[in-house]
């Protein structure tokens, strides 16, 4: 039985059905069928790759601009969007590099278009500068990072989870960050929509952190279109242009955002700015600005923290995992239960902000926690940070470019029990 953690909203998304292509009228469809074309019908099952599901999710969320530079294992996102975006009056640009890609995305977003880019580790490193710009200028955008082995060019075609900390702290300076991590094809779709919603809602970049296994894996997914889903679009100013204060401090901490070209003239800069957008170094203004950036995220943790628990009620040993490793972990937990070991699983769909409340609960109830991940210990570090001696924390770190197997996790479960 799979139960959703309280204060988690992914279930709402999982239930939401989606229409992926404009439905053809029945007469047109019949004509197409006569000509032997495969026509996608409502509610039809499809076999989609993670990257393809991300594209479907992005289009569904209203993404109409993509600028990127192809890189394995994220290339399929660019490929597919270059075909799909023009059909929905969107724009696709292949830029000269990843620095320019995110620059173009920020520009498009400032003009009011939901925008996205997709890359892998080496490109993600190049994007860090502009990622910081998006944070300080509070420009909504979605960055997909399909992780591969690193550092540098690393292992282009092999999976890894080693960008967890880069996603959080890759760009310099204090900044909040929202990072989501899918482990199924369905979640690729749902979390992409969620990523757009969160970025629009909180005016912050959102990173979708995917690993190569999930990005290239194919599973069945039903994109059944009719049911409405939550699509959030940035709040626009209701005041006349001359009254508009672009970085006004509000109770939510999220100022209204005007589209460029609408007559609301304001200044966008990477320098720390005052409420009107002009550079400032006055300590009181700087302090208020940085604190507001953090406040807009931290007072809404429950809206963005998503995960799943599996058989944790009576677990004596719990596994905390994310991405493709969560799938291995689930198999290991099932196998452990068959052997009479009370094991459980907490799957993280939100990596940052770190799901402290849920992790603390698991640490308290099980007393023994295993964190398997395909890096030298990035999330386990966070788990140990919030642990404060309440539980024993064990790690499995695999950095050879292959996925952690259920046997490896089961072995650890049996070892620590």
């Amino acid at each position: 039985m799979l139960k959703t953690v309280r204060s988690v909203s992914i279930a709402d998304y999982a239930k939401s059905g989606v229409l992926i292509l404009p439905l053809l009228s029945s007469r047109k469809r019949k004509a197409e069928e006569r000509r032997g074309k495969t026509v996608r019908k409502k509610g039809q099952e499809r076999l989609l790759q993670g990257n393809e599901a991300i594209v479907e999710g992005a289009l569904r969320a209203g993404c109409r601009f993509f600028a990127g530079y192809p890189i394995t294992p994220a290339t399929e996102i660019s490929e597919l969007l270059s075909v799909r975006l023009p059909k929905v009056d969107g724009t696709f640009i292949q830029m000269e590099d990843e620095i320019a890609s995110l620059g173009a995305v920020i520009g498009a977003s400032l003009a009011g278009v939901k925008s996205m880019t997709a890359t892998s580790g080496p490109g993600f490193s190049l994007m860090q500068e502009n990622l910081g710009f998006a944070c300080i200028a509070e420009v909504p955008c979605v960055v997909v990072n399909v992780m591969r082995g690193g550092p540098s060019t690393g292992l282009p075609t092999s999976p890894s989870q080693s960008d967890v900390m880069q996603a959080r702290w890759g760009t310099h300076g204090d900044h909040p960050m929202i990072v989501l991590c899918p482990s199924t094809i369905r979640e690729c779709y749902d979390l992409t929509i969620k990523a757009f919603n969160l970025s629009e809602k909180y005016r912050n970049p959102v990173i979708l952190l995917v690993d190569e296994v999930i990005a290239h894996m194919r599973e069945k997914i039903i994109l059944d279109g009719d049911k409405p889903i939550d699509i959030f679009t940035r709040v626009k100013p209701t005041v006349p242009p001359e009254w508009y204060i672009p970085y006004e401090d509000t109770p939510t901490g999220i100022p209204a955002m005007a589209d460029f070209g609408e007559g609301y003239r304001y200044h966008v800069t990477g320098l720390t700015h005052d409420t009107r957008g002009f550079p400032t170094s006055r300590p009181d203004e700087v302090d208020a600005f940085i604190r507001r950036l953090f406040r807009k995220i931290s007072q809404n943790f429950t809206d963005m923290q998503m995960g799943e628990v599996f058989q944790t009620e009576d677990a004596e040993v719990a596994v905390i995992a994310y991405g493709c490793v969560a799938r291995s972990a689930k198999r290991a937990v099932i196998d452990a239960r068959e052997r009479g070991i009370r094991a459980g699983l907490l799957k993280l769909n939100t990596i940052w902000p770190f799901m402290r409340t849920q992790v603390e609960k698991i640490l308290h109830t099980s007393g023994c926690v295993i964190v398997p991940e395909m890096n030298m210990g990035q999330i386990s570090r966070e788990v140990k940070r919030v642990n404060k001696g309440t539980a024993k924390v064990f790690t499995i770190n695999k950095v050879d470019g292959t996925i952690i197997t259920p046997q490896e996790i089961l072995g650890k479960i049996r070892e620590v029990c």
Partner: protein, 195 residues
């Protein structure tokens, strides 16, 4: 009780293994209606280098998406055959492209020269993967010939449908023949034992 059926298609880059995996997954998942997870692993080279595609089939949602112990291994070159035959279950099926696989490590493997057939009959080595899919549909219980045909025709580029249909049929005939041959060799083995 749920089951898992693990398939690995292996060979070198450029032999069309990943497309084969996708078609097989679509046939089983969309046309035969089971749960599937298809994954792949390949090197940075466009051609050459080792390449494999895996398909896991189950009657419930699949957790671990990679193949564990293999029910079916298709090896399109010698290296992949040598590397992976150890992962086969005792009752697992091994199908090799005998154009490239000269040494078969275990008894009872089906040896069909997919690439040679593709070159001789169609003058195109690249349909070897489709011929292999035809053979798989006859040699294993996991996918029906009808489903594989529908999946192949839905995936291949326009204008190549008849070529691919012919290749598929050829594979099915080859599979049928290999099966009969294997059955008769078992019979002859038993007969030999008796005498």
């Amino acid at each position: 009780m749920s089951y898992r059926y693990d398939i690995r298609l292996s060979g070198s880059g450029g032999q069309g293994l990943i497309l084969m995996g996708i078609i097989l997954a679509e046939a089983i998942g969309l046309h035969d209606g089971k749960y599937v997870a298809q994954t792949q692993s390949y090197g940075p080279e466009a051609r050459g280098g080792s390449s494999k595609a895996e398909v896991v089939v189950s009657d419930e949602e699949i957790d671990y998406p990679k193949a564990l112990k293999l029910d079916l291994l298709v090896a399109m070159n010698q290296k992949s055959c040598d590397d992976y035959y150890m992962d086969l279950k005792p009752e697992g099926i091994l199908i090799v492209d005998s154009t490239f696989v000269k040494q078969v490590p275990i008894q009872g493997a089906y040896q069909i020269p997919f690439t040679r057939m593709a070159r001789e009959r169609f003058e195109r080595g690249m349909v070897a993967n489709i011929i292999a899919l035809g053979a798989i549909s006859k040699l294993t219980p996991i996918v029906s010939p009808k489903a594989i045909e529908a999946a192949v025709l839905a995936r291949v580029p326009r204008g190549t449908e008849s070529l691919n249909r012919d290749a598929l049929k050829m594979g099915m005939r080859a599979g049928q023949k290999a099966k009969k041959l294997a059955a008769s060799s078992v019979v002859s083995l038993i007969e030999n034992e008796d005498t």
